[in-house]
């Protein structure tokens, strides 16, 4: 009976990152997936015919270009250039297997129009997202955020970061509702307004991360891999394989065996594999997860960039909840043939949000309207599942489903949290190649 330290079920991005990191930490890992391909819910589908088949949409007589040129993300998301996921890629050297491009545009929707998220001082000055007096206050606020050091009270302006709500911070700088909305949703990437009543530390760190990511390449803070997001799981799979770990695709998982309330083994197609810890995506252990919502996603094939984006070949548009009188933001993202995910001259867009009514497609209508004319649409509604417990007793650690956002911020936070619970320690964020690393000590 083969014995492993860790068994991983599902080859989604989160599971593959963790599998790769466990391998690099010297663990013996077995990785199983019931699909014949890598990526699970975060796969990129190729060829294009497969996408039609998957969504049970009849394919047109004449497809758009060569089917093999398409790699359509089921859940498209961008990476923050200075985020933890990029640091993990660098640390594990998975970057040598992948290529990235900077996302060309970043927009926020307000008053029925899209507005460029200001990048430079000059753009802030010219931006119609805020009024003249707000701009001066916003600059003061941004200076406060960028100089904020959790361990140095002198940078706190007499506000305790663990007890002061973000609303109080905004009030301290006298920022108007428009600036608060733009800052909270387009910079701190919050999906709703609940953060306003929470301690400000998380939001401050998120705004810092956004700013540092933006500073890396200037055009926008986001990166996207050539050939689609499905390349990331495979990069980490390769990392894991290099350390000698085992992968079994196309394997049905029959049972997870517990002994004394603790995971002991996985039974797959008659074989039993013993393990000390189990990592899984939600679909393999339905009795151990709970549903906290539903996500609607509409994948759209286009033959043009989105209007008013300066012909951007890739971009994100955030529609803050208040703009549509909803509880959650609506997200739009676009990638294209320039990323080798579509045939020449074609674009792939996605509109997504949390479902709040009985008519999910109507809820994303404002996003879809920005994309017209649309050649083809693929609508899906999926459950947002979260683990029922933290896994410490059972040593079964389950990732959360992917949320509607078009960035990987919340998903990276989930990976970090899982890593902490699985290993008992924080993933070290020091990048060995970071020129500033020594001076940070």
């Amino acid at each position: 009976m083969p014995e492993f330290d860790v068994i991983v079920l599902g080859t989604g991005l989160k599971e593959c990152v963790l599998s790769g990191l466990m391998s690099a930490n010297g663990k013996k890992v077995l990785h199983l997936d019931s699909n014949p391909y890598y990526g699970g819910e975060s796969a990129s589908i190729s060829p294009l015919e497969e996408l039609y088949s998957r969504f049970r949409v009849p394919a047109p007589d004449k497809l758009m270009g060569r089917g093999k040129d398409w790699n359509v993300d089921l859940i498209p998301k961008f990476l923050l250039a200075n985020g933890q996921l990029v640091k993990m890629l660098l640390y594990s050297e998975v970057t040598r297997y992948l290529d990235f491009k900077v996302v060309e545009g970043n927009f926020v929707y307000k008053g029925g129009k899209i507005h460029k998220v200001p990048i430079t001082e000059a753009e802030t000055q010219a931006s119609d997202l805020m009024g003249m007096f707000d701009k001066r206050r916003f600059r003061k606020f941004l200076s406060f955020v960028l100089n904020f050091d959790e361990s140095d009270p002198r940078t706190h302006h007499d506000m305790d970061p663990r007890n002061t709500s973000m609303r109080e911070v905004f009030r301290h700088f006298d920022l108007g509702d428009d600036v608060v909305e733009f800052t909270g949703h387009a910079l701190a990437l919050h999906a709703n307004d609940e953060y306003l009543e929470q301690p400000c530390l998380l939001t401050i760190n998120r705004i810092k991360l956004y700013s540092e990511s933006l500073a890396r390449y200037s055009l926008s803070p986001y990166l996207y891999p050539l050939f689609g997001l499905g390349e990331l799981p495979q990069g980490f799979v390769r990392l894991s394989a290099v350390y000698g770990n085992s992968f079994l695709l196309n394997r049905r998982v029959e049972e997870v065996v517990l002994e004394g309330g603790r995971v002991a083994a996985v039974r797959s197609e008659g074989e039993v594999f013993r393990c000390k810890q189990l990592i899984s995506d939600p679909s393999y252990l339905p009795e151990r997860v709970k549903k906290v919502g539903r996500v609607v996603r509409v994948l759209c094939l286009l033959n043009h960039p989105i209007k008013n984006t300066h012909e951007a070949n890739s971009c994100q548009i955030i529609i803050p909840q208040a703009q549509l009188n909803r509880k959650s933001d609506v997200y739009v993202c676009l990638v294209s043939y320039t990323h080798n995910v579509a045939s020449e001259g074609k674009y792939i867009a996605c509109v997504s949000t949390m479902v709040e009514t009985g008519n999910p497609e109507k809820e994303v209508q404002a996003g879809l309207a920005l994309l017209e004319p649309i050649l083809e649409k693929f609508l899906s509604v999926s459950n947002l599942m979260v683990p029922a417990d933290d896994g410490r007793r059972s040593q079964i650690f389950i990732s959360r489903s992917y949320d509607p956002s078009t960035h990987l911020q919340t998903d990276t936070e989930d990976i970090m949290d899982l890593y902490r619970r699985i290993t008992g320690s924080e993933f070290s964020c020091r990048d060995p190649r970071d020129a500033d690393a020594d001076s940070d000590e």
Binding site: R238, V242, G244, S246
Partner: protein, 242 residues
């Protein structure tokens, strides 16, 4: 984790495919052992970067149990050359190239070059039995085989004609015109990783052949970013912990 030295992004990618036990890793190891003094390797030897004149060529080998079940679309993605490896004493290893591995090359470049390599030729071919004259003295074969066989000891199951025929089928699978592609005589090799026979010829022929692909790629100038570029702006200490 070992801290590898920082390396440049490769200009072009060459991948090795083939069934277990045909000797893919030994082939690469034989070449790197003798010629790769300027080679930088990653853990487990699954990724080699070879400097060839002013260019960097990455060579991908399958790692660990990836070879059993785990090759995804990324492995051949963007490859300029694919080395399809079989064992000359094992017909099934040639058949597997067509049955299992050929479809993996769908993600290689449209103008990808294919080489068919029959390894373990020392077992069937007297010419392949003597170590190449340039090779360093290797005590291992002497210890393991004090009396070298005077004549081939195994029956050759895959003839050169079989390989040439498969090469033609590979080209048809890829939708390529045989007349415009490199001829089979030039792209079908028989090697011995054990003795070094024809190993240099294989790799160095391919390296020369992928040069046009490098130049084409450079002229197309993909605007990808180098994630390894150190930050130019100074970060505050708290910045790196979300």
């Amino acid at each position: 984790m070992r801290q590898a030295t920082r390396t440049k992004k490769p200009d072009v990618k060459v991948v090795i495919l083939g069934d277990m036990n045909v000797g893919k890793t030994s082939l690469l190891h034989r070449y790197t052992e003798r010629k790769f003094k300027d080679t930088i390797s990653t853990v487990g030897g699954a990724f080699f970067l070879k400097q060839w004149g002013p260019y960097n060529i990455s060579i991908w080998d399958t790692a660990g149990r990836e070879q059993f079940h785990g090759l995804g679309s990324m492995y051949c993605r963007g490859a300029a050359a694919v080395i399809l490896t079989y064992d000359v004493t094992n017909w099934q290893s040639l058949a597997e190239l067509e049955n299992r591995f050929l479809s993996l090359t769908d993600t290689a470049n449209a103008d990808c070059i294919f080489a068919l390599v029959g390894n373990k030729a020392d077992l069937t071919d007297p010419f392949a039995q003597e170590p190449d004259s340039e090779s360093e003295s290797d005590p291992q074969p002497v210890a393991s085989c004090p009396t070298p066989p005077a004549s081939p000891v195994q029956h050759k199951q895959v003839s050169r004609e079989d390989a040439v025929a498969l090469y033609a089928r590979v080209l048809r699978y890829k939708g390529l015109d045989e007349k415009t592609c490199l001829p089979a005589e030039r792209m079908c090799f028989e090697t011995s990783a054990k003795t070094g026979y024809n190993v240099d010829a294989l790799f160095e022929t391919l390296f020369d052949l992928v040069l046009p692909s490098i130049l084409k790629k450079r002229s197309e100038g993909e605007a990808t970013v180098d994630l390894e570029t150190p930050l130019e702006v100074r970060r505050t200490k708290a910045g790196c912990c979300a």
